[in-house]
Symmetry: C2
Amino acid sequence: MTHLTIKDIAKLSGTSVSTVSRVLNNHPDVSEKARAQVMETVEQYRYVPNNSARNLVIRESDTIAVVVRGIANPFFTRIIKTIERAIYSEGYSMSLHQIGSSDDELMTAAMVEREKRLKGIIFLGGRFNYSPEDVAMLRIPFVCCTYSNTFGALERDRFSSVAIDDKREAYRAVRLLLERGHRRIAALIEAEDGDSISQLRYEGYQEALADAGVPFDPELVEAAGSFEMEDAYSAMARLQERTRFTALFAISDAMAMAAMKLLFDRRLRVPEDCSLIAIDGIELTNYCVPTLTTLEQPADEMALACVKILVSLLRGDGKNRHVFMETRLREGASVRSV
Amino acid sequence: MTHLTIKDIAKLSGTSVSTVSRVLNNHPDVSEKARAQVMETVEQYRYVPNNSARNLVIRESDTIAVVVRGIANPFFTRIIKTIERAIYSEGYSMSLHQIGSSDDELMTAAMVEREKRLKGIIFLGGRFNYSPEDVAMLRIPFVCCTYSNTFGALERDRFSSVAIDDKREAYRAVRLLLERGHRRIAALIEAEDGDSISQLRYEGYQEALADAGVPFDPELVEAAGSFEMEDAYSAMARLQERTRFTALFAISDAMAMAAMKLLFDRRLRVPEDCSLIAIDGIELTNYCVPTLTTLEQPADEMALACVKILVSLLRGDGKNRHVFMETRLREGASVRSV
DNA sequence: AACGTTACTGGTAACGTTTCCAAAATCATC
DNA sequence: GATGATTTTGGAAACGTTACCAGTAACGTT
């Protein structure tokens, strides 16, 4: 017999299937004696319940899905790592789903949900600009991490989110450049339009310039095809060929690092010829030359908040919430005063 | 009714449960007419079978677990990404398990296996030096990725592996430095002893020196507490304070990048003052300054090989295999001739 | 037209749990 | 020690599939 069943345990501990089940699920209505009895046999034979059977009768699984757009992003890896820990320590299990830039996260999620009877979903890095009707496909709680849907059509009480205030933080980053005397400040953004992280950060950039009385020059803005470093590198190349600037705001650390490389390849020095600031705070920024000045998102806190919110939704206490985190300025050596 | 069952589909398509099941599982013994009928209703109502019920009667799940030590490692992320794709396209699902450096991968795997009735396991980046008795806990096929167990106690036909020949590739890397005229070549390794990737690569280093008639100097070797950049940085600091060298062989790209940063912080130039070579070929090496010369592991190929082997084991055709991949030299600007 | 093949179909018993319900045991009260 | 209340127990019906088995329909063959 490869796998023991609850029946075997019942027989071995001289009790019934029901009692074993009760013990295993920590029901109060079972005598101390029986409980001890059962526990002992369970330990002894290293019995582990069959999850499929359990999920079948429970009518759902114990799985929380994490749907991530761009798993290669170091910032996301960091978050995933913490999320996984938290999910397991809450007694759930996690399944990870990577989607490409052309995939539809809602489709993926809906499919997986139907197939596995998910408990909940955490979206990581998606755009998630869906209509309420679309979202109705998802009948389970979900939280969007790193995406705040600030202007989206979706009603705020239909889902939760954990994010930084992208626009405000971008504003802070650009203001820092302005305070250091920069006036020609370029922006390296990502192509996706509409209500995306890129757009929000871009708006922050524009607003900071406006508030400082610096006229907006579209020449100074270039969009990469994706968040990938490769695309950022070539976007930066276009930008650098087109115009001159003393500082660059990149919407992500990885993109800033690609930009840094382009500058190096063109024999331009950071920060002497061009200052650099970005948002994310990935570990790598401490190791590039020069170290990157960046607004660090509290990745671990964000991950824990996601799981905490989702779990409390699942347990029935707690409503949908939208949590905004603050970034912390981590000064590297990539910004100089002019 | 939230979820349709196979019974509903049977009723709706005017046939029986058995027939629907047969259609869904692509059994040949069903008429074209019935098949079309069923397919249509399935499409129309977007029916998705309940996996728990299926797994219950099948007596196993459709899940392949990936147990990874150090998910933050960019090389692993890349592999995971491809593995996930491959697993899904083969019709399985994936669950990802991150373990810390102190955790026991076998324990984790055994636990998860019992709980979920896994189909198979892929170990990523572990040491996996277990005795045959330990491994007997795992009753399902598994493949170790990036770890070859070259000298381990485990019988070779009990598991599969996909890896590079760590010793040989390290040998190649160090020989390249030797060919460029370097004689004082330091090594930045990782602390884990015994039969680890670090050790294998370290042996390759020693052998290359020996073959070139360069005497081995233990002063030139420093071990980091882990593969983390932080630990690599401080190990490199110790090394650099202790002795002088014209070139460094690091056992991983990430460690090399940390070393590069330390050299920069100490006002030493790469490659003028110290050449650098490593193994892995992560994308980032193209973006550091200067670009790192590295032996690139074919991450995608390795990932696909893992899944292919595992799937063929699961299908019953195919035996346990040990695949060695070749690296490809990707020349950056971090090595100079002396 | 009777027969044997073959192609297809539907009924039903698993699979290993949880949960409901009723029965049994225990306890408290008079 | 009889009664009712309470705690603890076990039996059995779900949950939604698959797979076996028996049966029916369709088709050639003689």
